[in-house]
């Protein structure tokens, strides 16, 4: 409101005097948005010109062959021609502006084209395998290298991927989010140390994660090569990404919100549960998505830990279980064209599953408080319009039937009620106070425990740091002495 009140005042202050002489040259305002016909025409003209010129150069002048060289030369010539065309009717700053704009758009387009190429390439190469319904419903146990595409499919890999990623998420979501909370809520030397470790872990090569699980769980503890071992290896890959991005998201929660919550009397735990987590919900879902994206496409940790099978296995604890990336890897290694087509088809299936998971996660995570309230409002309106006649009908029925029922109920109540009420009151009198006392104790204990633990950790690390520092000073002092 304050802004709108101010505006007229400003306008009054900047009104030009009527008696000023009109300016000689009218400077045109630089347009920063909108598309004019001349913009489109110069772009199209430059494109056509560059195509023709490049064709002449490639076929007549220079010994250049291949589509990549053609595209590169055509692009350079396009930029030159476009700059020229813009220069014909614009000033120099506008030319620079336009050329940079086109350059930036090309970069964006390149990224998009790369993505599109990857997606389209695998769909096209897998197009042979994709139309077969058995590709989605059968496993490969009855399909060998010599069998046609009408036999066998990748359901074992689809199921394997879903099971492995579910187990990995069951491990990483609680662990990752609580670690991120710890990093934010309990700032100390230890949390800084953990943060450094997490950052280092994001750069961990994926094969090392697989080796770690292989060396520890499989070789040392004698766990079978299984879906569970693969999930553990994937978890190692996913955890740092989830912690890192959740940590960033939690840091974005406004301090004022936390202060308000604490100011209203909430404990640290309550603030976390009621304020921080709901506020950063959408961001946390993004963190989970990022980690899932990393985990679902990993081949090398799975390669060492899950074993390989051509059959469906739904038991993550026993026997090898194959996931989609591993299946792709094994398929495309085969010399048989049908197997390679299956590999690319599997890649397309993997991309589709990832896309579907993301859409679902976005829908769940995108529910901000406003959206939720809007939906609740919508539902209320809907019920009001739909149920109004129903309510009226019910009321009518009730009005007719009601009195009798009421009378009957009252009679029953009069008979049964008093003893029941008496019993309830007695129970309540006995059980109630201790229960409520216990509840409040739990609540206070939780808060104080959280605080104590944090405090203890802080003191412990500060003592450790002081001791180390003292030690260092002593050593350096000794060195000085010896000198």
């Amino acid at each position: 409101m304050a802004d709108t009140m101010l505006l007229p005042v400003v306008e009054h202050a900047t009104v030009l005097r009527e008696d000023f002489p009109p300016l000689e040259t009218k400077r045109e305002e630089r347009r920063v948005s909108g598309v004019r016909i001349s913009d489109v025409l110069s772009a199209v003209g430059a494109a056509v010109g560059s195509l023709c010129l490049t064709t002449v150069i490639v076929t007549q002048l220079a010994p250049i062959s291949g589509p990549i060289a053609f595209a590169a030369i055509a692009y350079i010539i396009f930029m030159v021609l476009y700059a020229m065309l813009v220069y014909l009717d614009e000033s120099r700053p506008v030319v620079v502006d336009r050329v940079i704009l086109v350059g930036v758009h090309t970069l964006a387009l390149t990224v998009f084209a790369t993505l599109g190429f990857v997606v389209i390439f695998s769909i096209v190469r897998g197009a042979e395998a994709l139309p077969f319904l058995n590709f989605y419903t059968e496993d490969m146990s009855l399909a060998g290298p010599l069998d046609p595409l009408s036999d066998g499919g990748v359901v074992h890999a689809i199921v394997g991927t879903l099971i492995q990623i579910t187990i990995a998420l069951a491990i990483t979501i609680p662990l990752g989010l609580t670690t991120a909370l710890f990093l934010n809520e309990v700032p100390s030397a230890f949390s800084r140390f953990v943060r450094t470790i997490v950052e280092a872990m994001t750069a961990l090569p994926s094969i090392v994660a697989g080796l770690f699980i292989y060396a520890s769980f499989i070789l040392l503890f004698g766990l079978e090569k299984s879906g569970f071992a693969a999930s553990l290896a994937i978890s190692v890959m996913m955890l740092p990404i989830m912690i890192r991005s959740a940590d960033v998201v939690l840091r974005l929660v406004p301090m004022t919100l936390k202060e308000a919550s604490i100011g209203l009397g909430a404990g640290q735990w309550q603030t976390v549960w009621r304020v921080i987590l709901p506020t950063s919900r959408s961001g946390l879902v993004t963190a989970i998505i990022l980690a899932t994206a990393r985990g679902i496409g990993e081949t090398s940790p799975v390669l060492l830990t899950s074993g390989f099978t051509a059959s469906l296995n739904v038991d993550p604890l026993h026997g090898p279980m194959v996931s989609l990336p591993l299946a792709i890897f094994q398929f495309v290694k085969s010399p048989e064209p049908t197997m390679i087509a299956r590999g690319f088809g599997t890649a397309a299936v993997l991309m589709f599953i990832v896309l579907a998971l993301f859409v679902v996660a976005r829908i769940i995570g995108g529910q901000t408080i406003e959206v939720k309230e809007r939906r609740a409002e919508g539902r209320r309106v809907f019920w009001a319009t739909v149920s109004a006649p129903a309510v009226r009908a019910t009321t009518a029925v009730v009005r007719v039937v009601g009195p009798q029922v009421t009378r009957a109920a009252t009679a029953t109540g009069r008979v049964v009620g008093p003893p029941l009420a008496r019993a309830a009151a007695a129970t309540g009198r006995v059980v109630g106070p201790p229960l409520s006392r216990a509840a409040s104790t739990v609540r206070t204990t939780g808060d104080s425990l959280f605080a104590t633990a944090a405090q203890a950790m802080r003191t412990f690390f500060s003592t450790v740091v002081t001791k180390v520092r003292a030690l260092v000073t002593r050593i350096t002092a000794k060195k000085d002495d010896s000198k």
């Binding site: 010994p63 030159v80 020229m84 220069y87 009855l142 099978t309 469906l312 739904v314 010399p335």
Partner: protein, 535 residues
């Protein structure tokens, strides 16, 4: 209030349906009393194992096989994480500078499937692919040790009198990962051309004698390309732009990618292709370590194969092993032994029928007999006394002789050393390569385009369907003598030169001039017009 409950019920229903769908078929698969087994190793033999595990599924056996490479297979078997491994080289060989120690668990070797190491290449002359290249052992070794570096080398020309070879750099493509194909190829080089191979190894920083290795040593600056996996090397050679490349790979990859393989000179003086029958004939010369007390029992001694005097024998033939446990240890149980034994009985006999379709060669009789004995050493196996005559292995007949080797066709005369070479394609490339007639005076049948000087007739492009003969084209006949000569010279493929010369400068100048011609006039005009306006 009702909505959440309905949704919950729906979710439960869905979960139940999915579970039923998943559990249904898998429980049926376990109907027979075979325990699933898993193995890992050689990608060389994985195509065959993959087909066999699919075939034994009908008996209720579930065999899981991961083709992670033979080195990994041996390591995993040693660590006890797999029930069997497949490998091309046995334990105990010093590879590079590392000795691969044998495992502490009881183990035995069993022959698995045979095959020849093929040399797939991508070469063209005058815009037409060459499909009938022939190489002698020395030349082959010199190519892969960087001694011969150009395709028009005199030594290659001597092997291929009928080909006009382009002046192109030879790009040998080798495996960057540890692989059985490398092991098989280096076994041959170390055995046959030890001095060349050792000299190369020393250059690559290995100790001499180099011997068998599964990691191909590369010298930087030699122009060798290293690619992972068979798919990687064959895919690299199969790229249209990579003319001049040659690699060693399983025959099946050359067949499926549609590229030719080199015919290799054997000790009988014939150039032969690694077809199933030629490999089977070659392997008849294989000696097997029959000393049962030796840990290397049943490992191959291939000197006899490399020096096989049969004109049909492919010299680079070998077979891969299955490494099986002989004791109940680690995760291995007698129940698993039963499955493994059943699987072994299957692939030694019936399974070998499909070896040829899969790009391999079936095991000859001597190896199958030895393998059947090894099966009995697996704990828990259901010992079968298999009558060798009813084994259904295609390589031997009822009387126990090697049928395939008997029936294998003799090589055509044009494959003999010194004779004008055959024009028929090899490997996956079935198109012919017409001979250029150089030195092929007595050929007669396939000499389209041969200049028949003196007679005044040129029979260009008669019998050949390809029509891409190197000497097709206008013919100029002298009016007075009647002597005709080919006007068109032999097209020579030259690699684009990396150096920047006068020609390149002029080309760049021409390009810039054209662009300038389009751009400068309007820009200059506009510039001058603006200046005029301003002043």
């Amino acid at each position: 209030m009702k909505h959440p409950r309905i949704r919950k019920n729906l979710v439960l229903l869905l979960v139940a349906a999915v579970a039923a769908m998943i559990v249904g078929p898998s429980s049926a698969a376990f109907a027979a009393d075979y325990v699933p087994i898993s193995g890992a190793g050689s990608s060389w033999s994985s195509n065959a194992i993959d087909q066999w595990r699919r075939n034994v599924q009908q008996y209720g056996m579930r065999v899981n096989y991961a083709s992670t490479g033979s080195s990994d297979g041996r390591n995993q078997f040693k660590a006890g994480t797999v029930d069997f491994a497949s490998s091309e080289i046995p334990y105990g060989i010093k590879d590079g500078n590392v000795v691969d120690n044998p495992p502490s668990r009881g183990y035995a070797y069993m022959p698995l499937v045979a095959g020849g190491t093929a040399f797939m290449y991508n070469l063209s002359s005058g815009g037409k692919a060459i499909t009938n290249l022939r190489l002698s052992g020395t030349v082959l070794t010199k190519i892969f040790t960087g001694v011969i570096t150009s395709w028009d080398d005199a030594a290659i020309k001597a092997d291929n009198p009928g080909l006009s070879l382009p002046k192109r750099k030879i790009v040998p493509v080798v495996r960057s990962d540890g692989s059985g194909s490398t092991a098989q190829f280096t076994t041959w080089m170390a055995n046959q051309y030890g001095s060349l191979w050792n000299a190369y190894c020393v250059k690559a920083g290995r100790s001499s004698p180099c011997g068998i290795t599964s990691n191909y040593p590369t010298v930087s600056g030699k122009g060798f390309i290293a690619q992972p996996n068979s798919q990687g090397v064959s895919g690299y050679v199969a790229q249209k732009a990579n003319v001049g490349t040659i690699t060693y790979v399983e025959y099946s990859y050359a067949l499926k990618t549609g590229y030719p393989v080199a015919k290799i000179l054997n000790k009988a003086g014939y150039y032969v292709e690694p077809t199933a029958s030629n490999v089977a004939v070659g392997l008849l010369g294989a000696k097997i370590n029959t000393d049962k007390s030796s840990s290397a029992y049943l490992t191959q001694i291939l000197t006899g194969v490399f020096n096989n005097k049969d004109p049909r024998a492919y010299p680079l033939s070998s077979y891969s092993y299955l490494i099986v446990p002989t004791k109940v240890e680690s995760n291995f149980t007698e129940a698993k032994g039963k499955t493994l034994g059943g699987f072994a009985y299957y692939f030694l006999c019936e399974g070998q029928q499909q070896a040829e379709v899969l790009g391999y060669s079936p095991l000859p009789i001597n190896l199958v007999k030895a393998g059947l004995e090894q099966v009995r050493r697996i704990p828990g196996v259901e010992g079968k006394s298999i009558d060798i005559t009813k084994c259904n292995n295609p390589t031997f007949s009822k009387d126990g002789t090697n049928t395939l080797a008997k029936k294998a066709p003799q090589p055509p005369a044009c494959d003999k050393q010194g004779a004008p070479q055959c024009t028929t394609g090899t490997g996956g490339s079935k198109s012919d390569t017409p001979s250029n007639g150089g030195g092929a005076t007595d050929e007669g049948t396939t000499d389209d385009g041969t200049i028949d000087d003196g007679s005044g007739v040129t029979d260009g492009g008669t019998g050949e369907t390809g029509g891409g003969s190197t000497t097709d084209g206008p013919v100029y006949c002298e009016a007075d003598t009647g002597v005709c000569a080919n006007v068109v010279a032999l097209p020579v493929e030259v690699e684009s030169e990396a150096s920047w010369g006068m020609q390149q400068t002029f080309m760049a100048a021409a390009v810039l001039l054209v662009i300038g011609l389009v751009v400068i006039p309007p820009v200059l005009g506009q510039f001058l017009a603006r200046r005029k306006k301003q002043s």
